[in-house]
C-alpha cells in the first residue's frame, strides 16, 4: 500500500478534515523555513491526539511508508521537508498547554504549542520558558525538541535538551512510550538526551515536560555601537574574561544592521560597523554590578555609542532588529542562504576576517548576525537567483564558511540542525566511524528507517548490520545491494 492508500484507511479514524490529498493543498506543505528544498508529500495528516499520531505511524510502519513530522514549519535545515512517497504528519493542531506546575517548576505541553505562547502562559506565575529561538513567536515546542533549539539566551540558560525532563514518544513502530517525567535523573540510559536534537528521526514527541525558569528579578540590556567587529569582539572577550556570564550577547555587522533597519526601523546607531546587544539578568544587586563592568568594557574597547534600555518597551525595540534579522534580509536581497556554523568564541575576529575575504573574492555579500557569547555564527549569504551563476557562487561561499568553522574546531550547526540541508557536510566534521556509531542509535529506535529518513546522515546505514568483526562477506554486499563501510 502506498501513502495515498493510507488516506482511505485513516479517514474513518481521523476525520475528513484531518486528511489532505488535494494536490494544491499538499503543495503548501512542500517546504519549511528553508525554501531551497521543496518536496510535495504524498499525503498530509493533521493529528489532534496522541492516538491519532500512533495510528498514523502504525499504518505507515505496516505499509513501509516513510513519515515526517512537522510543527510550525519554520525550521531552517529542512527537517520538516516531506518525503515524496511519504506522509507528512502535521502537529500544529496539538497545541494545548496541559499544565503549568509552578511548585515543581514544570510545564506539560502538546508539541504544537508555540514557544512564546508557553512563556506567556507561565509569566503570570513568575516563570518563563528559557530557550528562546528568534522564531519563538511561531516555532513549536515539538520542533524545538527535534532540533534542540537554542536562542539568544542559551549561553546562560542552555538549550532545549537542558530543559526537557520528560516526553511521551510515539516510536517509529507506532508504540506510545513515556520517558522521564517531572523528576530528574531517571535511572537508565538518557533516552531524552538522544531524542532531543534527533530531528524527528527517532519518533514523534506527543507530549513534552519542560523545566520552567524563574523570571529574573532584574534584566538590564544595553546596545553598544562599535566602528568595527574587531572592537566589538574584544569587548566580548573582556566581558567573558571578567567572569561575567551575560544572559545574551548578540552581534550584528553593518550589512545586517542595514537590513534590520529597513525592516523594522529599530533605529540602531548610524554608521556602526558592529552593534552589540548585551543582556544581563539575575538578582538585582548582581546585575547592577555586572552591568557597570559591561558598560566599562564596551567603552574601553571603542564603543562610540551606548544605549541602556530604560524599560521593557525599549528593551523589546533593541531586540526587534536582531530577532527580525533573517527575514529582514529579504528586503535588501532577493535571495539568501543562512548558515549556522559555530567556532570557538576566541576565534571570532579572525574568522570574521576570513569570511570577509571569502565574500570579497567571490563577489558575494555576507551579512553577519551571531551569538557572540558562544561563537554561533549566522552568516547570511546574499544573492539574486535571477542572475546567472550567482546561486552557485553563493552555495560555494556557504560551503567555504562551513569548512572554516570545522577548520577552527567548531561545528557545522549550532542550532538549526542538519536536516537535509547540511547532511552533505557531516562527513567533513565526523569520520565514517563517528557517523556509523551515531546511526546505531537510529537503528535502535527505527530499524525500518521510516522516521524522517534521509535527514542528518548522507549515507544511511542498514540496520541489522552487526558492528564489529564480520565472518565473510555480508549477503547484501555479496548481492551488490549494499556497501560495507
Amino acid at each position: 500500500m502506498d501513502a495515498r492508500g493510507l488516506a482511505d484507511q485513516l479517514r474513518p479514524l481521523l476525520g475528513d478534515d484531518a486528511i489532505i490529498t488535494d494536490h494544491q493543498r499538499l503543495r503548501t506543505y512542500e517546504c519549511d523555513g528553508l525554501t531551497h528544498h521543496k518536496v510535495t508529500p504524498a499525503l498530509v495528516v493533521l493529528a489532534e491526539t496522541t492516538a491519532h499520531v500512533a495510528a498514523v505511524v502504525r499504518a505507515c510502519a505496516a505499509a513501509g511508508v516513510p513519515f515526517v513530522a512537522r510543527g510550525s514549519g519554520t525550521g531552517l535545515s529542512g527537517g520538516a521537508l516531506p518525503h515524496a512517497d511519504g506522509v507528512l504528519i502535521v502537529m500544529s493542531r496539538m497545541r494545548e498547554i496541559l499544565e503549568i506546575d509552578r511548585a515543581n517548576q514544570r510545564a506539560v505541553v502538546e508539541p504544537g504549542v508555540i514557544n512564546l505562547q508557553l512563556t506567556r502562559a507561565a509569566q503570570p506565575q513568575g516563570y518563563y520558558y528559557a530557550p528562546d529561538p528568534s522564531s519563538q513567536q511561531i516555532c513549536s515546542i515539538g520542533g524545538n525538541v527535534a532540533e534542540n533549539s537554542g536562542g539568544a539566551h542559551c549561553l546562560k540558560y542552555g538549550f532545549t535538551t537542558n530543559h526537557v525532563t520528560g516526553l511521551e514518544l510515539v516510536t517509529p513502530a507506532g508504540e506510545v512510550v513515556q520517558i522521564g517525567g517531572k523528576a530528574v535523573d531517571a535511572p537508565g540510559y538518557d533516552l531524552l538526551g538522544a531524542i532531543v536534537g534527533s530531528e524527528g528521526t527517532l519518533g514523534i514527541a506527543t507530549k513534552v515536560t519542560v523545566r520552567l525558569t524563574r523570571t529574573p528579578e532584574a534584566v538590564r540590556t544595553l546596545l553598544s555601537a562599535f566602528p568595527h567587529t574587531d572592537q566589538a569582539g574584544a569587548a566580548v572577550s573582556a566581558i567573558i574574561g571578567a567572569g561575567v556570564i551575560p544572559a545574551a550577547i548578540e552581534m550584528m555587522d553593518a550589512l545586517a544592521i542595514e537590513a534590520a533597519e529597513a525592516a523594522v526601523h529599530c533605529g540602531y546607531p548610524g554608521g556602526a560597523g558592529a552593534v552589540l546587544i548585551v543582556e544581563l539578568d539575575g538578582p538585582a544587586a548582581e546585575v547592577a554590578h555586572q552591568f557597570d563592568e559591561v558598560e566599562g568594557f564596551c567603552r574601553d574597547n571603542g564603543a562610540f555609542e551606548i544605549r541602556i534600555a530604560a524599560d521593557d518597551v525599549e528593551r523589546a525595540l533593541f531586540w526587534k532588529g536582531r530577532k527580525s534579522a533573517f527575514a529582514a534580509v529579504g528586503r535588501i536581497s532577493p535571495d539568501y542562504i543562512v548558515q549556522d556554523g559555530v567556532i570557538p568564541r576566541t576565534a571570532l575576529p579572525e574568522v570574521l576576517r576570513r569570511i570577509a575575504a571569502i565574500s570579497d573574492e567571490a563577489g558575494v555579500r555576507v551579512a553577519n548576525v551571531f551569538h557572540a557569547g558562544d561563537g554561533n555564527l549566522h552568516p547570511l549569504v546574499l544573492f539574486d537567483a535571477a542572475v546567472p551563476g550567482e546561486s552557485h557562487r553563493a552555495e560555494q561561499v556557504s560551503g567555504a564558511i562551513v569548512d572554516l568553522c570545522i577548520e577552527y574546531g567548531g561545528s557545522i550547526t549550532g542550532e538549526h540542525g542538519v536536516g537535509s540541508d547540511k547532511a552533505k557536510y557531516m562527513p567533513r566534521m565526523f569520520s565514517d566511524d563517528d557517523l556509523d556509531t551515531m546511526q546505531l542509535v537510529r537503528c535502535a529506535f527505527d530499524p525500518s528507517s521510516i522516521s524522517n529518513p534521509g535527514k542528518i546522515f548522507p549515507t544511511p546505514r542498514l540496520c541489522g548490520e552487526v558492528p564489529g568483526r564480520h565472518k565473510g562477506a555480508h549477503p547484501l554486499a555479496d548481492a551488490g545491494l549494499a556497501e560495507v563501510f
Binding site: R106, D374, G468
Partner: protein
C-alpha cells in the same frame, strides 16, 4: 589461552597489562586481567583483543564507584583508565576543557583554577572524569550549574568492537548529529569506554557564602524549600541535611560578585528566618555522603514539590522496618542520597526498598540502591522500574550486541 590473551593485552598497551589479583575484583566478582592503556588508540587495541576473545569488560578509574549498580555477572578484563590522565586542551578564553577520562577530578579542578575556572560538578566521591560521566555523578552545585550531562559537550569513546567514535565537539553550541555523549552519561560503562571528554566550564566565583538554618518542625522543610526555590536568590546549591536522629538543616550556597553576594545573603537570612546564620565555610556535612561504613547508600529522586511526600514516605517505611534513614542532598532539584543504618540482612533491605518504591508515585521519583555491605545486593533489584526499557535494550543491542560491557550491571539486567 590465558597466555595468548595476556600477551595480546601486553602488546596492545605496550607492556601495561597484568594478571588480576583479589584487589581487582569488581563488586566481589573476581576478574582475570587488568589492562592500562594510555591513549584512545591503545584502548581501541585492548577492546579489539577483548572482542576477539569474547571477554567481558568493566572500566575502572579510581574505583570509587565500582560497587555501584548491580553486580555484573561476568568480568574477565578490567580496563584501567588512570594512565589517560592528561588535560588535552584547556581553552580558557572559550571556557572549555578537553581531558582524558583517567584524569582525577581533583587534579583537573586544580589545573583549571589557575585561570580562575572550574568544572561545575562537586560530587562526594572524587574519582576520575570517566567515572564522573559514566555514573552521572551529582553534587550540590548542580542546582545552578546542572547535572554532568549538561556540562559535557563532546566525548571520545571506544565501542565494544574496538571502533573509536566521537560525538559532539569542543564548542558549547553544537547540534550536529546525535548527542551520544548524553547516552553515555550515566550508562555505567555498558555502551562504550570513554577515553576523552570535553566540558564547558564556569568562572570561579569571586565571593561565596553559606547560609544555614536549623529546622525544628518537620513540616517546615518542604515549605522553606519551596520559598527558596521560587525566590530571587539564585543559589548555587540548596542542600538539606536530615539525620535519622532528628533535627534538620537547610543550607544555601550563594556565589557571585561580592556586592551581589552580600545583598543576597541578607535576603537569604531574612527569608530563612530565626536561627539562620551565614558563614564563609561550608558546614561539615556539606557534599559528603550520609553513610558510615557498613551502611547502605541509596539515591532518591523526587519532584521538587514532592519533598513532603518523600519525607513522609521515608518516615513511614523507616518506622515500619525499624531502620533509621539519614537524608542529605539537593532538594531544590529533587536528587538526594539516603544512608540506611542497621540493616541486618538482604531481606530487610529488600523489604525497605520495596515498601518505599510502593510509595514512589506519591513523590514522583525513583529509589536506587547504590552501595550495600557484603552480599546484600545479590537478589535485590537495585535499580527499580524504569520507563522505556525496551528502547534501552535496543540501544544496548546496537552498541554491544555480544553483551560484553559490564553485563548485568545496569537497569533491567542490561
Amino acid at each position: 589461552m590465558g597466555d595468548v590473551i595476556m600477551e595480546e593485552l601486553g602488546a596492545a598497551t605496550k607492556g601495561h597489562a597484568v594478571g588480576a589479583t583479589e584487589a581487582d575484583a569488581v563488586d566481589s566478582m573476581p576478574t582475570h586481567w587488568v589492562a592500562q592503556p594510555d591513549s584512545t588508540e591503545q584502548t581501541a587495541a585492548v577492546m579489539r583483543v577483548a572482542a576477539n576473545h569474547d571477554l567481558a569488560v568493566v572500566v575502572r578509574g579510581s574505583g570509587t564507584k565500582l560497587t555501584w549498580g548491580a553486580r555484573p555477572h561476568r568480568v574477565d578484563l578490567v580496563l584501567d583508565t588512570t594512565r589517560m590522565n592528561a588535560v588535552v586542551e584547556h581553552a580558557a578564553g572559550d571556557l572549555i576543557v578537553v581531558v582524558g577520562a583517567g584524569q582525577r577530578l581533583d587534579d583537573l579542578q586544580a589545573a583549571l583554577s589557575g585561570p580562575g575556572q572550574w568544572l561545575g560538578v562537586d560530587p562526594a566521591r572524587r574519582g576520575t572524569i570517566g567515572g564522573l560521566v559514566a555514573t552521572a555523578a551529582t553534587g550540590p552545585t548542580r542546582h545552578l550549574h546542572g547535572p554532568v550531562r549538561d556540562l559535557l559537550i563532546g566525548v571520545t569513546f571506544v565501542r565494544a568492537d574496538g571502533v573509536v567514535a566521537r560525538s559532539g565537539g569542543k564548542v558549547v553550541k553544537n547540534v550536529a548529529g546525535y548527542d551520544v555523549g548524553k547516552l553515555l552519561t550515566g550508562s555505567f560503562g555498558t555502551l562504550g569506554v570513554i577515553t576523552q571528554a570535553a566540558f564547558r566550564l564556569h568562572p570561579l566565583p569571586q565571593a561565596r557564602r553559606w547560609v544555614s538554618v536549623p529546622i525544628t518542625h518537620p513540616d517546615g522543610i518542604p515549605t522553606l524549600v519551596q520559598q527558596v526555590v521560587h525566590s530571587q536568590l539564585v543559589p548555587t546549591a540548596v542542600e538539606l541535611d536530615r539525620p535519622a536522629t532528628g533535627g534538620a538543616t537547610l543550607c544555601l550556597l550563594l556565589e557571585g560578585f561580592p556586592p551581589g553576594v552580600e545583598s543576597r545573603t541578607a535576603e537569604a537570612l531574612d527569608l530563612m528566618g530565626t536561627g539562620a546564620t551565614a558563614g564563609d565555610d561550608a558546614p561539615g556535612w556539606w557534599g559528603a555522603e550520609p553513610v558510615a561504613d557498613g551502611e547502605v547508600l541509596l539515591k532518591l529522586t523526587h519532584e521538587i514539590a514532592g519533598l513532603a511526600h518523600l519525607l513522609t514516605a521515608l518516615d513511614d517505611v523507616c518506622a515500619a522496618t525499624g531502620l533509621p534513614a539519614h537524608v542529605r542532598g539537593s532538594v531544590g532539584v529533587g536528587a538526594v542520597t539516603v544512608g540506611l543504618a542497621g540493616v541486618a540482612d538482604a531481606q530487610a533491605l529488600a523489604r525497605w526498598v520495596t515498601s518505599l518504591r510502593e510509595r514512589a508515585s506519591s513523590f514522583g521519583g525513583t529509589v536506587v540502591v547504590l552501595e550495600t555491605p557484603g552480599d546484600f545486593k545479590a537478589d535485590l533489584d537495585v535499580w527499580g522500574p524504569v520507563g522505556g526499557l525496551p528502547l534501552m535494550r535496543a540501544v544496548k543491542r546496537q552498541f554491544d550486541p555480544e553483551n560484553r560491557l559490564a553485563p548485568g550491571r545496569f537497569v533491567g539486567g542490561i
